[in-house]
């Protein structure tokens, strides 16, 4: 066997430590993009579709058809995505050939974060200077309040993506505080463009839900259905118009099915809130769960059914009263090493 004699220590070192996440060169990424596009065309030909108009959804469907997988985790199943989504965006090398870094804050460790803080503070000082100028000229300060409810700040993850470096919780909260201070000043409209880079629009909650139209049965009476669940109980409710306020559950009257007052109160809650107690008839079917869970499920189902009878404003009021949200609370699982979900075994000294 041959043995290396004239070697340097760098070659002899066997246990080299990890050198951070894999760095992808630009040529590598370009090659991946070319391969992806070629693969997309091949896939389109295989599926018998037009290669020019083959969208990402079509790719996903084709892959799910060709490679069916029974794995539970969606991330573990075979997928074909554009390389920019697969390979995370990375920073290019931050220093030149002589070893000197490009950015003046490189040695702080978090150069983009600190440069961002500096920029934002500069804008703040700018706004204050403008304010002082207006006061010196005795002009009135603009007092238009920005609508805070319709927008939200960037989340920590989004900020990390923007800056391409890790941001700690403390740093993130400091940045948000600085932005809020900037927005609170009266003349912040000057820097509106800069602020918009860090805020996102939040759509009104109501617009996410589609209200179904009323249906009419043989007698000409309007009715609508709703489904609800709570814990393990599942309920469907059919609410009829021009009724006397009779409520039937699984063919039994509520007075017999729910002997407890609290459950009956819950059933009548949506009707009482809208003031329509004697005006509707209800027929429900419910299965699973216990007494209180069934009542909660029917409450949700009837509230959903009543949405079709009522104006949009009242639907919004129902949502704000908590009638239209599914209660996510379920029984907590028992953990090993403990007697119940929270109760530990009796502690014995010996």
């Amino acid at each position: 066997t041959l043995r290396l004699i004239c070697t340097s220590t760098a070659v002899q070192r066997k246990n080299v430590g990890a050198s951070g996440p894999e760095k992808y060169t630009e040529t590598f990424i370009k090659k991946q993009i070319e391969e992806f596009n070629l693969g997309k065309r091949h896939l389109a030909n295989m599926m018998g579709e037009d290669p020019e108009t083959f969208t990402q959804e079509d790719i996903d469907r084709a892959i799910a058809y060709l490679f069916p997988s029974g794995l539970f985790d969606k991330q573990a199943r075979p997928m074909m995505k554009h390389p920019t989504e697969v390979f995370p965006e990375q920073r290019k090398i931050q220093w030149g050939e002589d070893g000197r870094p490009f950015h003046f804050l490189f040695y702080t460790g978090k150069q983009s974060y600190y440069s961002l803080m500096h920029e934002t503070y500069e804008k703040l000082l700018n706004v204050q200077k403008h304010q002082d100028q207006l006061v010196a000229q005795d002009l009135p300060l603009q007092k238009e309040k920005r609508n805070l409810a319709g927008s939200r700040w960037l989340t920590k993850i989004e900020l990390e993506e923007m800056l391409l470096e890790k941001v700690s919780d403390d740093d993130y909260s400091r940045f948000i505080q600085l932005l809020q201070k900037l927005v609170a000043l009266p003349c912040a409209d000057i820097e509106e463009k800069y602020i918009q880079k860090f805020s996102k629009e939040v759509p009104m909650q109501l617009q996410k839900v589609v209200i179904e139209p009323l249906q009419y049965d043989e007698r000409g009476v309007a009715f609508s259905t709703g489904e609800g669940q709570r814990k393990t109980a599942r309920a469907t409710a059919v609410v009829y118009d021009n009724g006397t306020g009779k409520i039937t559950v699984n063919g039994i009257d509520i007075l017999h099915y729910f002997p407890v007052l609290q459950d009956r109160e819950q059933l009548l809650f949506p009707f009482q809130f809208l003031g329509r107690i004697g005006k509707h008839d209800m027929v429900c079917t419910v299965s699973g769960g216990g007494r209180s869970a069934q009542a909660g499920a029917i409450r949700l189902a009837s509230a959903k059914a009543l949405r079709s009878f009522v104006t949009e404003k009242e639907v919004e009021f129902m949502r704000q009263a908590g009638l239209l949200t599914v209660d996510p609370r379920v029984k907590e699982r028992k953990k090993p090493g403990q007697e119940g979900p929270r109760r530990k075994f009796t502690w014995k000294k010996r």
């Binding site: 409810a149 609290q262 809650f269 809130f273 949200t325």
Partner: protein
């Protein structure tokens, strides 16, 4: 992880008291009157709250809360504290029997009283309940602070929630322990509530004792650092 069904929202560090809701969910507002107020009647804060509510998701209303006139948050809280081993049916029936007993006693007094005093007698059991608990609430509490090896009882201000909790807890413990074996809970509770309503009785005495202790330990008040 705990599987996709339970992964509603899990923080990275697991706090002991966590809820199934995402922290952005707001509490529901059940009372009908607050939705019928015109826009001008609201203050600045209320207007902001209203705009925020339009954008954020809202938690589901719990089964004890309802928009009917008969549901009272204070009564529900008291019923929950009286409940043993999850027997809400029994606790609720005891509560309603207590309120009935209060009403009967007050009506008896009302019919026996002379004309000029009839107006001063309060017959509404809900008002009596609220006033009695309000009278039992301590203003200042004591907390144990260890300094230099010795534990001192330091007078400390209490939050509203804590005051309400202490008043209800004292009332319940008093009714459970200091009664004859044969008296029923509603009877004893109604008795105690009526005494507390008139600022008499053992619960009020306990409150005064606590106040006196706090007054006596005034010297250590500077040990508090919050």
């Amino acid at each position: 992880g705990l599987g996709w069904r339970l992964r509603v929202w899990l923080p990275r560090i697991m706090p002991v008291r966590w809820s199934r809701y995402n922290p952005s969910y707001l509490e529901p507002e059940v009372k009908k009157e607050s939705y019928q107020k015109p826009l001008e009647a609201l203050t600045e804060e209320e207007r902001e709250q209203k705009e925020l509510k339009a954008v954020r998701p809202i938690k589901a209303a719990p089964p004890t809360l309802s928009s009917s006139v008969f549901s009272d948050p204070m009564i529900s809280k008291f019923t929950n504290m009286m409940m043993k081993s999850g027997n809400k049916v029994l606790a609720r029936s005891l509560m309603s029997q207590t309120l009935e007993a209060i009403k009967r006693k007050q009506l008896e007094k009302y019919h026996k009283a002379p004309e000029n005093e009839k107006e001063t007698i309060e017959c509404n059991p809900y008002i009596i309940f609220h006033q009695a608990l309000k009278n039992c609430q301590p203003i200042i509490g004591l907390s144990n602070i260890t300094k230099g090896g010795k534990t001192y009882q330091v007078p400390v201000p209490l939050t509203d929630n804590r005051k309400r909790f202490l008043a209800m807890k004292w009332m319940i413990t008093e009714c459970r322990e200091n009664k004859h074996r044969r008296t029923m809970m509603p009877e004893k509770l109604s008795q105690e509530l009526l005494l507390a309503f008139n600022n008499e009785g053992p619960v009020i005495k306990k409150k005064h004792v606590l106040h006196k202790m706090a007054e006596a330990n005034r010297a250590y008040a500077h040990f508090r650092w919050w």
